[in-house]
Subunit: 339 residues, 2 copies
DNA sequence: AGTTCTTTTGCAATCGATTGCTATTTTTGT
DNA sequence: ACAAAAATAGCAATCGATTGCAAAAGAACT
């Protein structure tokens, strides 16, 4: 009472056992609804537990059973020290992951890490709290992830897949996506393209490479790449600087993410440059907001929901000891208004 | 080896103790860097642990110390069964919370709950896994939260505060926010207002009430309220229906969230209705995207980052056994282009 | 040398639930 | 009515780290 607890609260299985006049083991089995204990006793104990609001201590349970029911979700922020965890893409993927996991009764633990050494992921998977881990984005930590993947099976990574990698990845074919975006701009008649994005991680590097491939067939076309951070406050000023730099020398911009595209369009709009008439802009991701903006964004769709499902499914199989291969999804060009 | 583990892996403190030629207790103390054990022994043990990549089992540690280092983050989806966890406002707040918590070394467990009974929150706080819990949004579950708050101290809720409530809330003065938005529309000369939002939870109900107060002083003005869900697919069609219903009978719309405002503006744009010239629109939240859209959104700012800080700080104090009062932040009208 | 005070380490209980094994009771079959 | 089989319950070890208390070793002092 005075300590704010429910009155007469039961603290552990032993107390409930005493109350029910049985042994602790029986209570444990009753609460787990095992047929090993008599139906009547079982129901009596369950009723008692409900009455007193008793729930077995998860820590003890997990220690004993050696499994946690907890999946770790890790966001490595290697080359983007200032990138906020609240980045919409991460959050959207994370939201879908959360939906998938909680629906199947798993708990979910989030860690944001700024890799300071090469052991950041080891620390997480060795903490003994996790049944498995999902890594959102490779950042520039592909090798660190690869090393852990060699000894820790229940690990699934969102990102680019490349030959010979041990890690199980789920992601879109980023090169194909870059190709799609650039090709669309070329098809509209654009000749002087720019690419806005930070190519330190494999994913965005692949997107740039894809865009370059698209240009390969068409002479008289150019593509200039501009490193662009995702940290949203810097992003705007960087983009403004890029546009200054480009001047009128651009008629199509491949942005590495919808957020970059959104900001780019805003700045173009401020400067009175019509999108898509003077400059066409493509995004990447197809976040929900890309269809709510004006103009609606032409973008390369990653099916984030399907990706989340694939990640969780692969993880589930790996936890069960099976082997699950990487998934490479095909990106899709979504034609809207901006390009 | 063959089971995919690192070679020669140490499984627990006892093994490491044997290896170091000391007792388990000493290893435990050494790893915790307690001055109780000789500096040399301590360093020798730490080096050994590093060499073998050993980290003490968290489950055992937490069972013994009776604390988990884990904060639960709960999103109750009471009246919005279909609202997705990936809703931008929740995700933004959640992102900031995650930043705050992980920065201070806490882990974070996410539960999305669709309250099926009145025990959903009990189940979470009694699970024995949490040092404390943060609830994002009251939904229509204020009473259930209130009941739990009476016996479970380390609980902080994002939402509206009202007199006599035991629960510790952090949030903006929603009525004041609603007043601000409506007043802005009146100041622009709008006379026939509409309110888009679902008033089943206290937060949005307060916003509507505030808007109504603003009208009170001005005769000849009207305000019609339209229930509008947040589940994004339904939202668009609902809003379209509202606008059909209103016809030309509206020159200002108070939207209960930025997302609703964004969608409303899109639909108005599709119908060739100029914003803000024919109809002015205000949002609520000031999500990052509201300054990236075209037109930029005039909205009522909730300082989500500050809110997250306040929530974590209050929770920290409550975990330490102190008492922390509710925080009511003042909303701020952000004038941009849409109203 | 003998005593007292520190420093360092080990011992063993503890956190709370689970589960293999054994003991007891009840049911079934002959 | 007796043996065999099945159902039910209890006992006690176990998961792995932590920590109060006691013991041992060493230092300092008279």
């Amino acid at each position: 009472m005075e300590d704010g607890k429910k009155p007469g609260k039961i603290r552990n299985i032993a107390e409930l056992a005493r109350l029910a006049g049985v042994s602790a083991g029986t209570v444990s089995r009753a609460l787990a609804d095992k047929s090993l204990v008599n139906k009547e006793t079982r129901e009596r104990i369950q009723a008692l537990a409900r009455e007193y609001g008793f729930r077995p201590n998860q820590m003890a349970r997990r220690l004993r059973t050696q499994q946690t029911g907890v999946i770790g979700v890790v966001i490595p922020l290697g080359h983007e020290r200032r990138q906020h965890i609240s980045d919409p893409f991460f959050m959207t993927l994370f939201g879908y992951l959360a939906d998938e996991l909680t629906e199947s009764g798993q708990d979910l633990m989030l860690s944001r890490v700024i890799p300071g050494d090469d052991e950041w992921l080891d620390r997480i998977v060795d903490s003994g709290m996790l049944d498995g881990a999902l890594v959102i984005g490779q950042s520039n930590q592909t090798e660190a992830i690869e090393r852990v993947a060699q000894y820790y099976k229940p690990l699934v990574v969102w990102g680019s897949h490349s030959e010979g990698q041990v890690q199980c990845t789920v992601g879109v074919d980023n090169a194909a996506g870059g190709r799609l975006a650039a090709q669309r701009l070329l098809d509209r008649g654009a000749k002087r393209l720019a690419f806005f994005g930070d190519t330190k991680g494999p994913e965005i590097a692949d997107r740039l490479a894809g865009a370059q491939q698209a240009l390969a067939g068409s002479p008289q076309t150019t593509l200039r790449a501009f490193p662009t951070h995702l940290a949203s406050d810097e992003m705007a000023s960087q983009i403004a600087a890029h546009l200054d730099d480009l001047g009128a020398e651009v008629d199509g911009i491949v942005c590495a993410s919808d957020i970059i595209a959104m900001t780019t369009i805003r700045i173009l709009h401020e400067r009175g440059i019509a999108v898509p008439d003077r400059v066409a802009v493509t995004g990447f991701d197809d976040l929900p907001l890309s269809q709510r903006m004006v103009p609606q964004l032409t973008t390369v769709r990653q099916d984030i929901a399907a990706g989340a499902r694939a990640m969780v499914e692969a993880l589930r199989r790996r936890i069960a000891g099976e082997d699950a291969p990487s998934t490479v999804m095909q990106p899709e060009l979504i034609l809207r208004e901006s390009a």
